[in-house]
């Protein structure tokens, strides 16, 4: 923030900042308690998992983690990790490219049926996905693409996630129209103004799209379950989650351990990329 108002009286400002931090920390304490519980439970022996009320385990049961890893011993963990990265990476690329293209047309260009098509795009978010699951499976099966990564990546390159199209549309509509008009005077057509003017200014939305796509694709157990057959092609999430069978053994400890393992890569990803969220328009400098 570059607002000059902070030059005002110093002391009250500092107190209010302290209060802000204390408030945030208190809220965090509540918010993060369930995560602490998850972490602690992943180290508890079986008889303490549900029965014990203590947050901290009586003794550390590291075997929960080895058991979770045992489940995936047919395929190396690195293989699973690289499969996951490939799918999530492909999805990010696809969503950022295709959704920003479509969003640009909806937000800033005029064409026939724009209104109805936009309404249809929003409507595609409204039908519960369970209703279209089987028709989609049949299409990919007819195309011979089941048990490949195409059903997981191709839809993202075709802007099927209307959530992100709409998100980017909203950001693009927030940009003043003079931007393109100025660009047009400089001789830019829609393609150049898209790449040179609009896209750089939509960065916060694109980064948000990238981060959400990565996390959501990473966690999307169900689609991966339906479309992948070969254990060699499994993702980390799929392998860890499907290898724990709650009905056939006492497995809560390993299950918690498994979720912690599956969580680690996306935590690292988020920590690495969230700093890009900071640099928005304010720092890239809009010169009207």
């Amino acid at each position: 923030m570059t607002v000059a108002s902070t030059t005002a009286v110093r002391k009250p400002v500092r107190w209010s900042r302290l209060a802000l931090h204390l408030g945030c920390l208190a809220a965090l304490l509540v918010m993060l308690y369930p995560l602490a519980w998850l972490l602690a439970t992943s180290l508890k022996p079986a008889d303490e998992v549900i029965a014990s009320l203590n947050l901290l385990p009586g003794h550390l049961e590291w075997s929960n983690y080895t058991t979770a890893f045992d489940g995936v011993n047919d395929v190396s963990i690195w293989r699973l990790l690289s499969n996951s990265l490939l799918i999530a990476g492909g999805a990010v690329l696809g969503n950022v490219i295709s959704c920003s293209l479509a969003a640009y047309a909806f937000a800033r260009l005029r064409f026939r049926f724009r209104g109805p098509l936009f309404a249809f795009m929003i409507a595609t978010i409204m039908l519960p996905h369970h209703a279209v699951l089987i028709p989609q499976y049949i299409i990919f099966n007819q195309l011979g693409l089941v048990n490949t990564y195409w059903p997981l990546i191709l839809p993202k390159f075709l802007a099927t996630e209307a959530f992100f199209v709409f998100l980017i549309v909203q950001f693009m509509r927030g940009l003043p129209r003079e931007l393109e008009e100025a660009a047009r005077i400089d001789g830019c057509g829609p393609f150049r103004s898209f790449f040179l003017v609009i896209l750089p200014l939509t960065r916060p939305a694109l980064i948000t799209t990238a981060i959400f796509t990565f996390i959501w694709t990473w966690n999307d157990f169900f689609t991966q379950l339906i479309y992948l057959f070969d254990p060699d092609k499994f993702t980390l999430t799929l392998a860890l989650r499907s290898f724990v069978d709650a009905s056939s053994q006492s497995s809560f400890g390993p299950m918690f351990a498994m979720s912690v393992i599956a969580l680690l890569p996306i935590v690292l990803f988020f920590l690495a990329f969230q700093r890009f969220l900071v640099e928005g328009m304010a720092s890239s400098g809009l010169k009207g």
């Binding site: 079986a46 029965a51 007819q142 724990v244």
Partner: protein, 427 residues
């Protein structure tokens, strides 16, 4: 105009997909890898089962050098969903593990191959005929049981013994059982058992004890609203007395042993299947024991040996013979049996069951001993339930929830259930 082209394309693509759904057709697993026949084989289970299955499959591949088996497994719930989508999409694996409740639906939906056509390679002579019949739908053998299990009253040995209440014995009746759980509640201060009212399985045992069944031979409802009212009144009364678990505990059942009242230390016993009961050992350090389920008042046993899982072959497989060979190998081969042990329940092949009995260890042995103590006293299992049963199992538990949370009387809930069941079984 791009718009026009799109419209035309849409129309033809829509027609294509509609055809696909209407015909229920689709590509079959006609895959050939490096000149070898490739079979896809899927099952549900845990890592231990996976490891042993993998070894058995490797042995199969060694014996059949021209066949390559691609295996894939997941947990039970995930497996069920995946298989349903695959089967609907016309893409079922060549060899698949199936549940009792899936047989009817998959068989009548044309997903499964008539296994009698592969008699030459798939032998069933050493399987108990009553058990084998459970894989038959309308007289056709669509699936072969792969292991067997049975319901049991599993109890916390130490607590029950310490209470002084007589231990369960073979041939005890439902009123003996009710007396025991009342006494247990009085002596130990916690409910004697999980409320059995929500369990369709427990109800079936109770019904069979009275010479009835859940379903008739032709797939209709085998009992009346009066029967169900009586059962729910029985359970409701015990629950109100505090002899069985309260609604707030019972509602947490989710298939895992951890969330049963017994597993949480809030009851002394539970109704469960014999093999999964091993999960209690980690939760109740002093150990659990298995007792037979109660019989009818005239001594008719309701308990039966139930196939814990089946093997079936896809009707669309390109390799019916090789698939049948794999099924035969998993069921009847001595070496495979040694590798597999009791990982899929006690083996159904009788010769193998006798030979492997001595090699079983730990809880596998407990289960085998429990089953052999029942041998010869039980009646034949019912045939596979009609496909409507998938829906009814949850309806049963939902309707009883209305009773246990005291929103409906047993009579009202039972009438509701029977109405819905009749509609479900008609369609």
């Amino acid at each position: 105009m791009p718009g026009h082209r799109t419209k035309g394309f849409c129309a033809s693509a829509a027609a294509l997909a509609l055809c696909a759904v209407l015909a229920g057709c689709g590509g079959s697993g006609e895959s050939v890898g490096g000149g070898k026949t490739v079979l896809r084989y899927t099952w549900w289970g845990n890592p231990d089962r996976a490891e042993r299955t993998q070894q058995a499959v490797a042995l199969f591949e060694k014996r059949h050098p021209n066949v390559q088996v691609q295996t894939s497994f997941s947990g039970y719930d995930a497996y069920k969903q995946k298989l349903a989508v695959q089967a609907t999409g016309g893409d079922a694996p060549d060899v698949m593990q199936l549940d009792y409740r899936q047989i009817d639906q998959y068989a009548s939906g044309g997903v499964l191959l008539d296994l009698a056509k592969q008699k030459g390679v798939l032998h069933t002579a050493e399987i108990d005929p009553g058990l084998l019949a459970t894989g038959r739908v309308d007289g056709t053998q669509y699936a072969i049981p792969q292991g067997r299990g049975t319901e049991t009253v599993v109890y916390d040995v130490k607590t029950w013994k310490a209470s002084g209440v007589p231990l369960p014995r073979q041939g005890w009746t439902w009123s003996d059982w009710a007396g025991a759980v009342r006494e247990l509640a009085k002596k130990t201060g916690k409910p004697g058992a999980t409320d059995p009212g929500q369990s369709e399985d427990a109800f079936e045992v109770w019904l069979r004890g009275r010479g009835k069944a859940l379903y008739t031979k032709d797939g209709g409802l085998g009992f009346t609203a009066d029967d169900l009212t009586e059962w729910w009144t029985f359970a409701d009364k015990l629950r109100r007395e505090g002899a069985v678990s309260p609604a707030e505990q019972t509602t947490q059942l989710d298939g895992s042993v951890e969330n049963t009242p017994l597993g949480r230390g809030k009851a002394v016993s539970d109704f469960n299947w014999d093999a999964p009961a091993s999960g209690y050992l980690a939760l109740i350090p002093d150990g659990v024991a298995l007792a037979p389920t109660p019989s009818g008042e005239d001594g008719t046993p309701g308990q039966y040996f139930k196939p814990s899982m089946f093997l079936g072959v896809s009707a669309h497989t390109g390799h019916p013979k090789e698939s049948a060979e794999l099924v035969d190998f998993l069921l009847n081969d001595q070496d495979a049996a040694k590798i597999l042990g009791a990982t899929r329940g006690i083996p159904v092949n009788e010769t193998i069951r006798e030979r492997t009995a001595s090699q079983l260890k730990d809880f596998d042995k407990t289960v085998a001993d429990f089953q052999s103590s029942l041998e010869g006293t039980l009646k034949d299992p019912p045939q596979a339930p009609p496909s409507g049963d998938n829906a009814l199992q949850t309806t049963f538990q939902r309707d009883y929830d209305q009773v246990s949370y005291e929103r409906m009387s047993p009579r009202e809930a039972a009438e509701n259930y029977v109405t819905e069941a009749k509609a479900e079984l008609r369609s």
